[in-house]
Symmetry: D2
Subunit: 319 residues, 4 copies
């Protein structure tokens, strides 16, 4: 029996450690591991091959993904899905591990229902915006990249008595911004999930500036689309010269942290175990309170991830 | 009411974020935060002062501890404990948050029973060797420092067709070595908790070398005291020129990771909440499966931390 | 006799090691070192104090500047310069070391001619755009910050078959962009000093893409104001989905590299030696081919820094 | 005409950027680049192949060397040198670029005289101990790795009121230790090139400790073999608990800095230009005061590298 791994949608650090663990663990179980290159596009085009130990030697510390990823419109047409199925059948592959987000999981579930190809989706995105799991692979690395960037920005902010508005990734989700604000000593945080209380922030910070505060740091989730507005508000309200720093795609790269390497191994082990159990499966894995459980794709698709309350509460004290 | 924070025993990254959170949170609760400098030695000598926001500005990203730490023999004499108590009484401090290990917790519990000074111990050590918690503050940072060191060592190992024996800290506990081996793609791992199966390792690696493996990486916990012996065994068995690298005290330093900064905030919040609840308390906090709970010091002292089974099992596949 | 140090204009990594060396070296020479805080603004407002060893303990690895910097419009008015002079006279300070750029040097030279305050300007800016020196303090650190950012961006670029346009700082000068492009394996580099040869770049890269190139990296100096145009050209010409990443103020921060720490010490030593020599001086120091020489401010002001020819020539081979 | 590149002796960061530049530049010049794998051992065994652009894609940021290196005893026997010569003749290779140290250069010069194979040696070692050049490829990266390690050690030293003796690499040469001590704010530095003045160090540091110094940092070159002795002297003289940290092989690894990437390109360009000039050559390149010049191997072999006087003088002020 053969089992394949594929990345789909946005890339995230942790994909390579997951790919390495996949190959090692599938061989350990006596089965044949396959790579599907370039995501759903490669699945349609038959870009796949049996994976070897050599393919995954020396990749555990690399960001990105050695098998690449893609977004695919063609896969929404039945004829291309048939083509994808024929590619798998030719190699006797009947199970897939998919590193991706909820869009990719929905595509795979359709494929599972149509052609009976088992799959387990491992939530993988730096945005941490997938329902049914508290953790998405890649988030810890992204948070530490942001930490490092903010440390540098604080150097120049404090040298110059300036304010900085730092914009993080996360699409509609404020998780990256919220955790970064709390762990980097920011004074202001804007996320889509929470109203920013201008008046209390103004009162609190005016007071701190009177007591000697010499610079301000604000962290804003990209989903707020509010960096420019906030910059102007800070300049108007506090008189600080204010700069915007959009951190951008550096947040997607970098050597995976130990936490992401460990999570990659745990996610992959559970996924492969489920796929080798001889039961039919087409689900995602969620991580909650220290344990892993399977979640229906319909549930993942129908719900929105909620930032934990203790994080939202802690943000209250910034305003 | 006044409440103080103190470091005791070995330092660990995460102490400074904890100290910052302590000051911010105690003020938020309307109480007075104090620093005790230089651990139990400073407690005896009265090195303490009320803490201000300014004391903790710009420290969240610093390794080490701005209030320093110590080991104290004097504290085991009743007269010095009396002196310590008088220092606290003078400032009306009746509660302590202690960042340290089980030795420090035992000393504080004695003090609690003798003088009624409440305390909560936050398990803080890179060794991750404290019973009653799955996580000690500082471990994630140390693991990432080790990761970075091993990445560098692999550069030179692979350039030269060499084997490396990397010795990690951890005292009697093999946690750092085990997780580092698993997440850095090591071929061999020695920890006190597990017998090293030479014959199966020999068989497996001889086979890999025949198939093209050009270097070897072994991670050894300092508690095994086996680096030299392992080096000689590798040279004898596989013919690789082998070097030992004792990572040493770099493992204790470095900018705290986001995970350690978050855990620092969570630990401190629980500790301060408990101390302000008006109930008498003299316990440690443990972190287990995503939640925090209080543990009796006697229990912490009487038991030995066990590395989780899934980590021990994963190590089996290295040999 | 007393001698002061001041930062002026944009901050750069290397200021703190320079400040530390200044204090140590002035004491070593038996004179009194002073700090002027907040640049020319602080000079006007009398924000100055005698510096101690303790002020500079543990700052050598910090980005930014502990004495802060500023831009000043007031200093262009004679009355404020008089006020500045009175502040210095009060403390018997007759010499200044100024870490800054050519604008700051011109201001200081006017001050020198009017009031006889000696000064030596140390070229300090990550932009490397000051005439009369081949190296400005802070450049090596900025280049390594950019290197680290581009390494991360390449992770995600190669994972996704994408092109990236990375915009670096440097104002009108293309030095940072040019060296970053050459040392990070970029395929395209745009700087103000050199025409971008679209047709040859198109030919060369079309060929490489036909031979398997899967992503493109372009580095653009901010002075070109061409990131958007280049993005569109790449998308139109090669069909790659293309993202822009403006690196922004992270380039100004970070732990100074060893090279910047060494250069800081060398620049400061020469500056202090000149100021203590009892001759009148109002110049900048330049670094050229391994040695240091003094340059007239008029010459610095009247000329534009030229990127070395070997760098410009090497860029030819990218197109 | 074909031209090959080879690494020999100890590895150093900067080898991979040099290898990439070599392939790019030789193709640019219209000639054929070759790799010799595994140093002189591979030269004897015929481990060589024509290099392609693909071989060097994505290697610029890697430590170590993708073509590996070795030390060879066999090459000192004429019969193996003959075999090596035959391997080159078969592929019509008549010139070599050699990344290595003086031992390797001497071996190559013998080979040059016996068989007429041209070569240019690029001084490559983190030890910076080669006569005829002020800079050896890899040194800047090693210095920054040491800086990072010492920053971490200072975290724990200052947390604990401890002294640390940090031992750096460098074999008989004290360059790494000297520059590291000067740029990391160490209080003591021991190198083979300079007598350590115990009495003046004792006097100076006793004074500083009386004024509040709470920890000590000493940097010792491995060539002094004095770490243990120094530790005992510090404990005896100042009463600080003292730890030794032998930095070891992490100093050989790591992502090459921008400076090493630039120097790699400059060294390789000069070397290839010389080899393609149609004149016979068997020399090393030295870097001095901003320019490159060729040096006779006999001269390199007969002399010992001297640390620049300004560095030695600056060390005086530590004691």
């Amino acid at each position: 029996m053969a089992i394949a791994i594929m990345c789909s949608g946005g890339d995230a650090p942790g994909m390579n450690p997951a790919i390495k663990k996949f190959v090692d663990y599938v061989y350990e179980k006596g089965e044949k591991p396959y790579f599907i290159y370039d995501g759903l596009e490669g699945l349609i085009d038959g870009s796949l091959k049996e994976a070897s130990y050599k393919d995954v030697a020396g990749i555990i510390h690399l960001g990105g993904t050695i098998i690449r990823t893609s977004r695919s419109k063609r896969f929404f047409q039945r004829s291309f899905r048939e083509q994808a199925y024929e590619n798998l059948k030719k190699e006797r592959i009947d199970s897939l591990v998919v590193l991706g987000g909820d869009g990719s999981f929905r595509a795979m579930e359709l494929f599972y229902r149509e052609f009976g190809i088992n799959f387990v989706g491992i939530p993988t995105t730096i945005d941490n915006d997938i329902y049914g799991t508290n953790y998405c692979l890649g988030v810890d690395t992204a948070l530490n990249v942001i930490r490092d960037a903010i440390d540098k920005i604080k150097d120049t902010a404090s040298a110059f008595n300036r304010a900085f508005v730092v914009e993080t990734m996360g699409r509609e989700c404020g998780y990256l911004a919220a955790v970064s604000a709390l762990t980097s000593g920011a004074e202001i945080c804007l996320i889509p999930e929470k109203k920013f209380e201008k008046s209390s922030a103004k009162k609190k910070l005016t007071n701190e500036i009177a007591n000697g505060r010499k610079y301000l740091l604000a962290v804003v989730a990209e989903g707020c689309e509010a960096s420019r507005e906030l910059k102007e508000w800070i300049e108007r309200t506090f008189g600080f010269e204010t700069r915007i720093s959009v951190l951008g795609h550096i947040q997607r790269g970098g050597n995976p942290t130990v936490y992401d390497r460990m999570m990659a191994a745990s996610f992959v082990t559970k996924a492969v175990d489920a796929l080798l159990s001889n039961e039919r499966i087409g689900k995602a894995i969620g991580y909650k309170e220290g344990s892993f459980e399977f979640v229906d794709i319909a549930e993942v698709a129908a719900n929105k991830y909620q930032i934990p309350n203790d994080i939202l509460n802690a943000l209250e004290h910034l305003d």
